[in-house]
Every structure is written in structure tokens, then in C-alpha cells.
């Protein structure tokens, strides 16, 4: 639990930015408990609150076992490598930005599709 708290205090400045787009590389994770899972969920929730997202990359077998055990694996987008996870953000336009563009665009002008 202590480690989870220190992890949270480390990542908090990143989460509290506007529309945080975070990738956690879990390849070196050797042990995780329920407090660690709660920390990941907290980060995801906070990122979503700010219209951002948190994605996981390259989870180690140990992390995968605990993510599946706690049914949290299905809540996260999980990628094989950090590069892939980062690339997935480039095609991502948050809904709020789309709504803002739709509101700002004059009538008759079609919304540009995010590539």
C-alpha cells in the first residue's frame, strides 16, 4: 500500500494535466497487489475525468495474472509495446474536442474526420 501511495504521488502531476494521455509500461513489473490495482484504476478514473486516457503496455506475465484475477484487465486498453500504445493516442480525438469543433464550425461545414 505504501508503494502504491508513493507511485500515486509520483504520477499525480501527470494525471492532473489537461487531457492527460498516459501509457504505463508494465514490462518490468514483478509484483502487484490490490493496492497497485486500485492505484491503476484511480489513475484511469482521474485521466478520464480530465478527458484523457490511460493505456497499459507490455504487461509482464505477473501483471497479466493479477489483472485477470481482479477483472481489471478488461477495463484497460492493453498494447504489446509502449510504442504501439503511444501510436494509438495519435488517432484519438476526445469527444469533448469534437463537440467543441462541431459547435464552433459554421453550418454546412462538415466535421473533419480524425485520421
Amino acid at each position: 500500500m505504501k508503494q502504491a501511495r508513493s507511485f500515486l504521488s509520483e504520477v499525480r502531476p501527470l494525471i492532473e494535466r489537461d487531457r492527460p494521455q498516459l501509457v504505463f509500461d508494465l514490462s518490468q513489473l514483478r509484483r502487484i497487489d490490490s493496492a497497485g490495482i486500485e492505484a491503476l484504476l484511480f489513475c484511469m478514473k482521474e485521466a478520464a475525468r480530465r478527458d484523457g486516457d490511460l493505456k497499459l503496455a507490455a504487461p509482464s506475465a505477473e501483471a497479466q495474472v493479477v489483472l485477470e484475477l481482479t477483472r481489471t484487465g478488461r477495463l484497460f486498453e492493453i498494447y504489446a509495446s509502449p510504442a504501439e500504445a503511444v501510436r494509438s493516442f495519435s488517432g484519438y480525438l476526445p469527444n469533448m474536442v469534437r463537440q467543441f469543433h462541431r459547435r464552433a464550425a459554421p453550418e454546412g461545414v462538415k466535421e473533419k474526420k480524425a485520421s
Binding site: R49, L75, N95
Partner: protein, 375 residues
């Protein structure tokens, strides 16, 4: 089978044959350990005098049977202790079975002893249907030098020649936790001669003495719930799962195609799938990984002393406290929650980009959205 004794060895070999530091043969399969089941088979074949030797303390209750002497030897002197045990047994009988677990092999011991008596050689080794050598041998009491060489070579010295005995029975090599799981499935399917220790409450569902199953739990056949187990509300036990004695599954968890070891405890709302779990260790057969989990909220033990369990319960309650209170106690950032929210809004700046409250609050809603699309 007069004049035949047996030396049954559990352990003494590779790390892969162990789980949580114990040889797999010491773990229960449908209510009785492989070691005890082997002793039962020997007794049924007429072997009255058995010495069992393990390199680790077994789980309680200790293996006890009439005419069986059980002892534990450290791993570094396991084979020398085995040799001492053999010498003692060979004074009392004409021939001695030397069996290492190792594999669960349904060898016909009576037929093997008969063949050994007929052939009259120093040694007879059992082979599986596929021709694999099994660690099941009959050794003549007067062939002590061969026996010494055999035990010195940990039963695997290929220079020692033994007459073959072909066995057509079921064999499971029990060389990984996954094979322990496979043995359970084969036993439930009736392929292995392993009878579940309990009464069949419904077709394919065996329940041991003193097991408590909440009426809101679902047990789907084939399944085994061992003696003294507790299954709480909303639990699903399915696809050939086995809960060994005195294990406990907390509310809403799913045990799917898995084995829970004796005295293990699975926390609430978890998914144990294709796994062997217990003693703070979990082996996932699907990922072929063994993970140590030192968290009683996930995989714990019912054999823990009461003060420690009470402490774990308090920790669990503490973790359920509201986030704001938690942060107040932890003193994180030294800011109240409203102040932090105000700061976040100030950072966002443009009111048009403020996140919608309805989108923000629920992780559950977000999960539901994720499952049907990526937006």
C-alpha cells in the same frame, strides 16, 4: 503379497515438480493427496509395511495410515536418508517397492510383484503404455548394491539395468502445477482411478463433510467442494473446478477450471481461471506463469492465526473508506479535494472543454463503453 514392503518418496527432484515449495505429490487431488492415494493403492495390493519419505513438511493433516511410517528429510540428504530407509525395509521383506512421486501412475502393484518373483532378477521397472520409464521399481532385498546405486543415481541412472514391466494404467507425470490440474480433471471425468472424497450431492458435484455452500452460490458439474470449505454468496464454481479442504471463496468470485489448494482463501469479486491457487501463490495454466501474491485480499490462507486475519479485515475496511477521508488521513498533497478540483478546472481554462460530470464519475460506465467501442 507377503514379503513385500514399499518405500515411497515424495520430492527429491526438480523445482518444476513443486508448487509453493512443496512437492506436488503432497497436494490434495479431490480430497486426498497423491501420496496418500498411492499408500492406499499399495495397501489394497497387499503391501502392509510402507515407509514414506518427503523432503518437505506436508500440509495438515499429516499422512497417517496403518503400517506406514512417515518421515521428512532435508533436500540435501534426501537420497541418503532414502537409502537408510531401504536398508531397514529390506531386512523385513524379500523385495521392496521403490516408488517416487513424481508421477501418479496406476500400476498394478500385485501383478508387478508377481512378475518380479517369477523373473527373479535384482530389479524390475514399470513402463507406461507409451514406453516411458516410471519411477516405480521392485528391488530384491539381496540386491543391495544395485539398490544403493539406484538411489545414489536418484532413480535415473541409465547404466542400471532393470527388467521391464509394461503398465497399461493411467499415468500423469505431475511435473508442473498444470499437470496437477489435469489430474483433477481426469479424475472428475473418471479417466483416472481417483475417487472424490465426498458425497455426490448432484450428478457430478461432490461435496465433502462440513462444507458450507451459500444458497446464492452456483456450483456447476463437474465440481468438487472439499471438507470444511466455505463458498459465499454469488460465487460460481464451474468447469471441473476443485476446492480442496478448508478453502474459502468470498462473495462474487468465479472459480473456472481451477484448483484451490487446501486452506486457501480467494477474496471477493475475483476471477480465478485455468489456475492452481493457494498458499499465496497462483499458477496460471493459460499464461504458464507462477506468481507470488502476498495480498490476503486476493489469495490468502484460512490457516492464518486469528489476530492476523482480523488485521487483514481491518485493512480491507480501511481501504473502503471514502477517497476524501483516505486522502485526509494520508495527507496527500496537503490539499482538500474541492481545492484540487478547482485547481484542475483552472488548468483546463476553456469552459467548453470542461469534462462532463456524467462522463467523469463512473469507472463502470467507462468499462461498458470500452467493451462496445473505443470512444
Amino acid at each position: 503379497m507377503s514379503g513385500v514392503c514399499a518405500l515411497v518418496l515424495a520430492g527429491g527432484h526438480a523445482e518444476c515438480e513443486r508448487f509453493a515449495g512443496l512437492p506436488l505429490a503432497l497436494f490434495d487431488v479431490l480430497g486426498r493427496s497423491v501420496l496418500m492415494r498411492t499408500l492406499d493403492r499399495l495397501r489394497a495390493s497387499g503391501v502392509r509395511q510402507v515407509a514414506a519419505l518427503s523432503d518437505a513438511e506436508p500440509l495438515p493433516p499429516p499422512p497417517t495410515a496403518a503400517g506406514c511410517r512417515f518421515s521428512v528429510a532435508p533436500r540435501d540428504c534426501f537420497w541418503s536418508e532414502a537409502w537408510q530407509q531401504f536398508r531397514q525395509l529390506s531386512r523385513q521383506a524379500e523385495s521392496v517397492f521403490v516408488i517416487r512421486l513424481g508421477a501418479w501412475a496406476e500400476v498394478n502393484y500385485a501383478a508387478m510383484a508377481k512378475q518380479h518373483a517369477r523373473l527373479g532378477g535384482a530389479m524390475l521397472r514399470a513402463y507406461s503404455r507409451r514406453g516411458e520409464a516410471l519411477d516405480v521399481l521392485v528391488v530384491s532385498s539381496d540386491g543391495r548394491s544395485e539398490a544403493a546405486a539406484l538411489l545414489r543415481g536418484e532413480l535415473r541412472d541409465e547404466r542400471i539395468t532393470a527388467a521391464p514391466h509394461r503398465s497399461s494404467g493411467y499415468v500423469n507425470r505431475l511435473d508442473t502445477p498444470a499437470s496437477l490440474r489435469l489430474l483433477t480433471l481426469d479424475a472428475l471425468a473418471g479417466e483416472a482411478e481417483i475417487a472424490p472424497m465426498g458425497s455426490e450431492m448432484r450428478p457430478g458435484v461432490w461435496v465433502g463433510r462440513g462444507a458450507r455452500i451459500h444458497r446464492g452460490a452456483r456450483v456447476i458439474a463437474p465440481a468438487f467442494i472439499g471438507a470444511g470449505c466455505t463458498v459465499h454468496r454469488g460465487v460460481v464454481v464451474t468447469r471441473g473446478s476443485a476446492l480442496e479442504h478448508h478453502s474459502e471463496v468470498d462473495c462474487g468470485s468465479v472459480i473456472d477450471n481451477s484448483t484451490l489448494l487446501p486452506y486457501s482463501r480467494i477474496g471477493a469479486g475475483l476471477d480465478v481461471e485455468q489456475a492452481v491457487a493457494g498458499m499465496r501463490v497462483m499458477h496460471s495454466s493459460r499464461l504458464n506463469t507462477t506468481v507470488e501474491i502476498d495480498d490476503p485480499r486476493l489469495v490468502g490462507s484460512t490457516a492464518e492465526p486469528l489476530p492476523r486475519r482480523a488485521m487483514n479485515l481491518l485493512t480491507g475496511i480501511f481501504a473502503l473508506l471514502p477517497e476524501a477521508l483516505w486522502e485526509l488521513v494520508a495527507g496527500a498533497h496537503g490539499q482538500s479535494l474541492p481545492a484540487r478540483e478547482a485547481k484542475a478546472k483552472a488548468t483546463i481554462g476553456d469552459p467548453a472543454l470542461t469534462p462532463l460530470e456524467s462522463q467523469a464519475d463512473s469507472c463502470g460506465e467507462m468499462a461498458a463503453t470500452r467493451r462496445y467501442g473505443n470512444e
